[in-house]
C-alpha cells in the first residue's frame, strides 16, 4: 500500500509523470512498467477514471532488467558468502556485522509477522465507517480520541499512513487523522509488548513510551487545528480496506504479503545500519555523545530518523544502544515511529510534499521535547 499512486484526474502530478520511464520523481514510486497486458485489462475495467493511464504501452523494460540485475548481484553475493571466497568476507568484523544484522532481523521478525497480519486483517475485515463513527464531531475532542484509538489498531508506521489517508478522504477531520497516524504505530499492543520484551524488568520504559507518544500525537493534532492549512494537503484519493465485491481473504493475503515484504525490507535496512553502527563505530564516539544528556537525546533522535527502523522492531535496536541514557533511548523510540526518512517519503506521496516536510519537522521537535519531559518524569 506504499505504492504512491495518485490516480485522481485533477492531479497535475499524474500528467507530468511519463509512464514507463522507470522510477518517478516521487519517493518510493514504483517503476512504471508493468506488463502492458495487465494494464490494459485493468484500464478497461475502470475506463472512466484512468483513461489517460490505460494505454497499452511497452516502454523500456527497466523494472524487469533492474529486478534481474538485483537478483543476480544478490545471488552472486550469496554464493560468495557461501564459499567464503574473499578474505574480507571472512574477516571477523564482517562476520560479526552479519551476525548482528541477522540477529536484529530475526528478533524483530515474529513481531513484524504478527503486526502485518493483524493490520492486514483489520484492513480487510473492519469497515472504515467504524473509525469515523466513534470520533466526536468537535475536532478538538476528536484529536485525543483518535490518539487513543491508535492504541487498539496494531500496525507499523508504514500501514498507518494509507489508513490515515483514507480517513481524511472519508471526511474525518485531518487533525484527528494525523493524531491517529502518529499514535497508531507508536502505542499499539504489539509495539508495547515488544518494548516490554526488549527492556526486561523496566516497565517504566513502556509507560514512558506510551505517555510520550500519546502526548506528541495529540499535540500535533491540536497544532494542526491551530496552524494547519488545507492547501498544504493533497487529498488522498485511494481506497483502503474492504471493497464490495472482492474476496476478503484474498485482500487479507495480498495486504499481508505487501506490508510484510515492504516493512521487512526496511527492517533489514535498519538492521544493516544498526549493525554497521554497532561494529564500525568505536565506543569513544558514542561516549562523546552519550556523556552529555542533551546531546545524547538529540543524537539518538537523529539516529531514529536516519535508521528508519520499523516501530515493531525499534525497541530492540534501542535496547542495544547500551551506552546511552534511558531518556535518549526513549527519544529514539518516540521519534522513530513518527518521523523517519521512509515515513517522510510515504507521507509526501500520500499527502503531498508541502505537508510532509512541515509536519515531520514539527513532529520531530515536539517528540524530542515530549520524550525529554517523559524521561525526566518517569525514568
Amino acid at each position: 500500500m506504499q505504492d504512491v499512486r495518485d490516480t485522481s484526474p485533477q492531479s497535475e502530478k499524474q500528467s507530468e509523470k511519463q509512464p514507463g520511464t522507470g522510477p518517478g520523481t516521487r519517493p518510493d514510486a514504483r517503476p512504471g512498467t508493468p506488463s502492458g497486458a495487465r494494464r490494459r485489462v485493468r484500464a478497461g475495467s475502470r475506463a472512466g477514471s484512468r483513461s489517460g493511464e490505460g494505454a497499452d504501452f511497452r516502454g523500456p523494460a527497466t523494472a524487469p532488467v533492474l529486478a534481474a540485475g538485483a537478483a543476480s548481484v544478490l545471488a552472486v553475493a550469496g554464493l560468495a558468502w557461501a564459499a567464503g571466497a574473499a578474505q574480507w568476507l571472512t574477516h571477523p568484523g564482517f562476520r560479526a556485522w552479519q551476525t548482528i544484522c541477522v540477529a536484529i532481523t530475526l528478533q524483530a521478525l515474529p513481531f513484524l509477522v504478527l503486526g502485518t497480519m493483524v493490520s492486514g486483517a483489520v484492513n480487510a475485515f473492519v469497515p472504515e465507517r467504524v473509525f469515523s463513527r466513534v470520533l466526536p464531531r468537535r475536532p478538538a475532542l476528536a484529536v485525543p480520541v483518535a490518539s487513543v484509538a491508535g492504541v487498539v489498531l496494531p500496525g507499523c508506521e508504514c500501514a498507518s499512513v494509507p489508513v490515515a489517508g483514507s480517513l481524511v478522504r472519508r471526511g474525518v477531520t485531518p487533525a484527528a487523522a494525523f493524531a491517529f497516524l502518529l499514535s497508531a504505530p507508536a502505542v499499539n499492543p504489539v509495539v508495547l509488548a515488544s518494548t516490554a520484551v526488549a527492556f526486561p524488568g523496566s516497565p517504566e520504559m513502556v509507560a514512558a513510551r506510551l505517555v510520550a507518544s500519546l502526548a506528541v500525537s495529540a499535540a500535533m493534532g491540536w497544532l494542526w487545528l491551530r496552524f494547519g492549512r488545507a492547501e498544504w494537503l493533497r487529498m488522498p484519493s485511494r481506497h483502503t480496506g474492504h471493497r464490495h465485491g472482492h474476496r476478503r481473504w484474498e485482500e487479507f493475503r495480498l495486504g499481508f504479503q505487501h506490508d510484510f515484504l515492504h516493512a521487512g525490507g526496511f527492517l533489514v535496512l535498519g538492521a544493516m545500519a544498526a549493525a554497521t553502527f554497532n561494529v564500525a563505530v568505536p565506543g569513544s564516539v558514542l561516549d562523546a555523545f552519550s556523556g552529555s544528556p542533551w546531546l545524547s537525546v538529540l543524537f539518538l533522535a537523529g539516529l531514529a530518523i536516519v535508521l528508519a527502523v520499523c516501530s515493531e522492531a525499534d525497541a530492540f535496536v534501542a535496547a542495544s544502544l547500551t551506552g546511552f541514557s534511558p531518556t535518549a533511548r526513549l527519544a529514539f523510540m518516540v521519534v522513530g515511529p513518527m518521523v523517519d526518512v521512509k515515513l517522510v517519503a510515504l507521507q509526501a506521496g500520500t499527502f503531498g510534499r508541502a505537508f510532509a516536510l512541515r509536519f515531520s519537522a514539527a513532529t520531530a521537535v515536539v517528540a524530542v521535547a515530549a520524550s525529554s519531559l517523559a524521561g525526566w518524569w518517569l525514568l
Binding site: M1, Q2, D3, R5, T7, R30, S35, A37, R38, V41, R42, G44, A63, A71, L74, G78, W81, A82, P92, G93, R95, A96, T99, I100, V102, A103, I104, L106, Q107, L109, P110, V113, L114, R238, H239, R243, G245, H246, E250, E251, R253, L254, G255, F256, Q257, H258, F260, L261, H262, G264, G265, V268, L269, A271, M272, N278, F316, A319, S320, T322
Partner: protein
Amino acid sequence: MRRTFQAVLLILAGAGVLRVSLFGDIALRYVKQGLQPYLVASGIALCALGAIGARRDGLPFPARRQEGGAEDREAAPVHGHDHTRGPRAAWLLLPPALLLLLNAPPALGSYTAARDSPQLVVEYESFAPLPASGPVPLSLTEFIARVQQEERQSLQGRTVVLQGFVTPGEDGTWRLARLLISCCAADAQSLAVTVHGVTAPPADTWVTVTGTWHPDGALGTTSAALALDAAAVDRIPEPPLPYVDRPPAAG
C-alpha cells in the same frame, strides 16, 4: 517486484527462519532461547502464505504461460491502488534469507569481546558456600562476583574451573571471555578473566580453564584483579547456548 517474486521471497524467508529455529539450534547464536517458538510460528506462517501466493499467482519462472490466468485476477486492483507490484525494498530480505539458508553467521566471539565494553556483573545478595574440597566449577559471572564482592574470601586458595572462549589481548596475554545477551546479539555484553601461566590457544577456541585466583589487589573488593593462574587449559566444543553463562560440567 512482481507478485510472483513476492511469493518466492516469502517462502525463502520462511525457510531460512525454519532452518535456524526448527531444524537446529542455530537461532540461539542470534536471539534468546525464549524466542524460538515464535520464530517457528513465523516461519510456518511465511511459508504457508508464500505457498498460497505461489499457487494463486504462479511462480516467476514459468510466468509467461500463466499470465493469462493472472490477468483475470489482477483485473481489479484490490485497494484501488496496485498490489501487483510489490515494494522494491523487499529485495533487501533476500540476503539474510539466503545467509540463513546457506551459511549462517557464527555466534559473536572474540572480535566483539575484545572491543571495550563494561563488565557488568549483578550485585550478589549472598553467596552459597563452596563445596568443601576439590576444584569448583563456576560460571564466569559467579567467579567475577566472588572475586570482587565476597567479603568471606572463600576463593582464597581454592581451585576453580571456568569455561569460555579465548580472546587474545596485547603482548601475548589472553582472556577467557563470555558474551551475555539480554535480547539479541546486538546488545551483547562481555565478561572476561585474564589467564596467566598458559600460552594462548587460537582465538575463539572454547576451553575450560582450571586454576586459582591470580593474587593482585584485595580479594573481595573491586581492587581484586579479574585474573586466574591457570594450571590446565582443555579444549571443549562450542556450547549449544553460546550466550548463557553456565559453570562447566563437573568432572
